[in-house]
Assembly symmetry: C2
Homo-oligomer: 339 residues x 2
Amino acid sequence: MRFIDACLGRPVDTTPVWVMRQAGRYLPEYRALRETADFLAMCHRPELAAEATLQPMRRYDLDAAIIFSDILIPVEAMGMTVEFVPEPRLPKPVRTREDVAALREPDPHSATGFVMDALSRVRAALPADKALIGFAGAPFTLATYMIEGGGSREFLNAKSMMYNDPGLFRDLLARIADATVPYLAAQVDAGANAVQVFDSWGGALSPDDWRAFALPAARSVVSRVRRPGVPVIYFLNGIGGVAEDLASVGADVVGVDFRTSLGDAIRRIGPAQPVQGNLDPAALLGPAGLVRERAAEVVAAGRAAAGHVFNLGHGIHRQTPPENVTALVDAVHAAGRRL
Amino acid sequence: MRFIDACLGRPVDTTPVWVMRQAGRYLPEYRALRETADFLAMCHRPELAAEATLQPMRRYDLDAAIIFSDILIPVEAMGMTVEFVPEPRLPKPVRTREDVAALREPDPHSATGFVMDALSRVRAALPADKALIGFAGAPFTLATYMIEGGGSREFLNAKSMMYNDPGLFRDLLARIADATVPYLAAQVDAGANAVQVFDSWGGALSPDDWRAFALPAARSVVSRVRRPGVPVIYFLNGIGGVAEDLASVGADVVGVDFRTSLGDAIRRIGPAQPVQGNLDPAALLGPAGLVRERAAEVVAAGRAAAGHVFNLGHGIHRQTPPENVTALVDAVHAAGRRL
């Protein structure tokens, strides 16, 4: 598979491409599916999750599918109530030692078998040359949702625990990591060809705090999940302050957000590290000519790394015209072949 | 003045310190004042703005006061309706060529004389060794509010204009810059000893877009405002992807957010550039011992630059215990003397 080869730094005929949140609201067929079930029900019902996963694969020549799910699914399995209203809301956040102690270490098959079922269905339906990506949230990112009780701009409850009771905060990170490792391993067993660990909020930390808390927790997950031939991607949203430390996570691929240019990122991370990224998804709101031009620039920059998987530097926006994704995928493959 | 000397790279007896949003809701005396008037009325009434500005100067040994105001005050003067509910809201956003053409180029004295009055009052009340800082939003940051009609997470309307009609977007930036230059000059005439240009949202751009749009607009303001002995500070919230380009803004001082470590920032910006920053304001929610320790680390890192003004790497949070600011200011001055 072209995607797996690029992740592992092997030669490829062209640059592989997938898009974060490619199974999503910018697609009319996704919106139609969502009219039949709410978001959490879509995650819980394998036939719906599989269908959402496959929709963009039918429309576009993407090199990988990513399973339709949410990073909070294993948090639910750990015993927390998770709602989407539509933003995620956890009405009983984790704030005390007792709250942390009450978290369950779920068996991934019994607690989240529906994810594994969806993966098996998608893997069976996908052509052999298309990869299937499983995923989980990184421990720090999941901890912010669990402590804040939802999304946040400032993460003050999470940081307050981190500064006032670093031992408790580390315990929470360790518990999340311990739940995440078998969850990702089960996804691979069910058919995932690669897994991505999303550290969506790790970039909200100062570099010292990221190194002290988020990095070791992410490394713990990555090192325990890696196995030969199944790449692990670590995506940190906001690498600008810590690029030099990213190789030390030990992932096969480092995902780069759009606020650092890919060329700089490769220089700072080190060219031996395969990378993924990083077009600003807002560029897809521009004319198709601009999409093609920017895509080709990112492909060219990616040549400096040992491997490059093209992606956006953040999830695709629901306002994106679907035809601009066609332009994007074609431009990436064309530019990758030309180079 | 210690603050001015540090900005200009002159020798100082210790590191000067001020705090972004130091006149704010974490202070009980500020909350009491706010009970007498809403936020915009406080900005519009010089006696209230002056009082809010002076409150933290009475409580703490800060080296500089920053005038109590808002970056949207000159936007109001350009003819737009600005509300605080409490988040900023501009009910008639700028979306078309006609909207841009309708913007006024205000005379700062007649349109925003209340700001100049407040500055004069504060300068008269401040001890001679304390600096007074005026400020304005950077053109890109103000453009996002004007186009989005308020705050935003993704800035999709602003980026959409930028990608689909870059000429119009540049016209808007130029108009904002042209209004900002006399506004800042008037603040200096009224008593400001330095001015800060806040690019609060410039870090939401890809580096290429920041260099193509935000940087030239900020440089245009800075280059036209600079005059001998009156430092201009450029604060970009999110320098991680563009640190190497910051010296080219041409400011006397570059403000550094907390998501890049100050030592790395100085290396990447270049040690000849005086810098300001950059403790994570969330650290002030931790114990006083941690505040002191982190403050001393930032002071030590700042020694590598030609000049260093201590500040937080973002505005102080309203949940901050006021006594932690005492610990912070004392720790900065003590560490600066020791080194």
